[in-house]
Symmetry: C2
Subunit: 380 residues, 2 copies
Amino acid sequence: MKKHFLFTPGPTPIPPEALLAMAQPIDYHRSEDAVALIKDVLEKLKHVFQTENDVLFLTSSGTGAMEGAVANLLCNGDKVIVIRSGKFGERWAEICDAYGIDVIPIDVRPGDSVASEAVEAELSDNPDVQAVYATLCETSTGALHDIEALAGRTKHTPTLLVVDAVSALGADDLQMDNWGVDVVVSCSQKGLMTPPGLAFAALNGRAWEAVEQSDLPKYYLDFRKAHESGLKGSVPYTPAVTLLIALQIALNRICDEGIRNTITRHNRMALATRNAVKAIGLPLFATSPANTLTSIRLPEEIDGKAFVKMMRDRHGITYAGGQAELSGKIVRIAHLGWMNENDVIVAISAFERGLAEIGYDVSLGAGIAAAQEVFTKQTS
Amino acid sequence: MKKHFLFTPGPTPIPPEALLAMAQPIDYHRSEDAVALIKDVLEKLKHVFQTENDVLFLTSSGTGAMEGAVANLLCNGDKVIVIRSGKFGERWAEICDAYGIDVIPIDVRPGDSVASEAVEAELSDNPDVQAVYATLCETSTGALHDIEALAGRTKHTPTLLVVDAVSALGADDLQMDNWGVDVVVSCSQKGLMTPPGLAFAALNGRAWEAVEQSDLPKYYLDFRKAHESGLKGSVPYTPAVTLLIALQIALNRICDEGIRNTITRHNRMALATRNAVKAIGLPLFATSPANTLTSIRLPEEIDGKAFVKMMRDRHGITYAGGQAELSGKIVRIAHLGWMNENDVIVAISAFERGLAEIGYDVSLGAGIAAAQEVFTKQTS
């Protein structure tokens, strides 16, 4: 009787009531009901984004919103700073390259997080930089970047701070308004507990001013059209209706819990997982790990790809392996979205057992005990 | 006990087994199961596109694939012909404008279809035109364009023929390979009986050569990346997994019926609807109406917006009204996707009854009889 558990950093498990809501007969996206649905979803997203700014949505993966945050904010010949600390920081640079934007990369060793001083230094060398493109949680490594510190460096300058919160929104703290972040992009299939296919962006006033100036080509990813339509509960193009229905239910759960509590829950799950990994005796890959997922560096003798495959095939446990040059070298365990302490216990227990089964010397239960200590301390 | 019937030209009703399949727990998009799913879906799409060319998919609305067919095929400074006979022909021109492409418009009165001679004339005046952008069914008017005739004019020239089959794929005939069409784009929520959120494109060899030359900026809508990933059952970015699952089930139904039979079924539903409208005494809006939907011109004394709203609110029947300058002037009834004769009977019967209720002089049952005549003749 195989039972599947999904611990990948997206897609993440969907609450069953959201899954079932998608099974109702589909409706027209220009009905009064759809208008109310879109308005409600966009209003509730503000709570999750911790902003008073409007949030807009696109029918696309998170990458669509990332590209939108380039094509809508920049002009031909603009210069930007891109923080590259893994696959998703690199994606910012690739998108900018596709549009002929002049990229000043700040490269950070994978697993590490950027020092805001490095950004400050580049900014003072290049005061004409239009935007800094950063990542809240670099999903390929599990590293959390200090967005509050970066915003401290940009908010009093003309340079915009654009943050990829694709995987971390709702898991790691991102106080868009309080910290002075100009643009945040995210998507449906991570902390928002909804299937993939919707992407979001929130822009503050000065980001919208940049949009007015932008001369790069765009049509489907046009933020202005998405924003203006959204305010009326409308859409420029047929949206992923079923996903909006699931999203509304997922957002209700987050709004009921309260975003601050949602982040605290993720922090507790992450702390427990990290403590467990340490107790098992393996090193964490990220120096400043995110609440979103925990990356574990595997000993050289373990083939990470085979381990991940074995866990899925034999145990129905899906972790994510490493990507690109990290393939086979790390395992990534997400504690993200519709999860609580008991899911973390399953993830850790299976991890211990898997290690034992491939002959790695592990003291069974050590990780579980370390995790339970976190949970017990925090609830007592 | 209100029961809803959806007769809009997208989204269209979804088979319940496809809806229910989306309610299963979500899985990782890089699993072996997902690889098999993607490969199967892309293979079956070839049958629907009537092509041996590979089909690629994007997580977006159909407009994403339309933009892709501009950004991936053209170069800076290119000149194209765009056939504009309504909102969706205009969309081709708007997208080209966004990329600074030189557009030669061929404007056709809304409701009419383009004469291939007009395209031939522009082509001989402008032999350097890179592509002709056309529409199979102009959804805003219900007009069918003769793509076979257009392909006859382009296939022996260096000019590519790019067809928006967003609404009509699987309803109106489009023999990509036999007719010599270079590029076809479509999406999930029309003839393919799947919720919105997936878009498709099929390109032939010479279209792929144009892709190699193209220098317009693109990233998320990059056809080459989508194509190369798709061949391996992979994706460059997280796809709309739940929609792929529904699509597989919908495609199984079309493949079981056979695309030629699917088109014949749509033709029969369209003929019956058109005969019914004529028997009711109202004029068809399109001179060459599509199998996809029937547009009906309303008498001046009928407020089309109020009529469509009344039908939905009072009867649970959702037709589409007119868009832009046709708002209030036409009603559009789709017979598209997961529908058969009995759905058409409901659409016509409700239409007759609605007209009677607003005091229009209609002979109840006349439309139904005319439709039944078509169905009886074709099955006997």
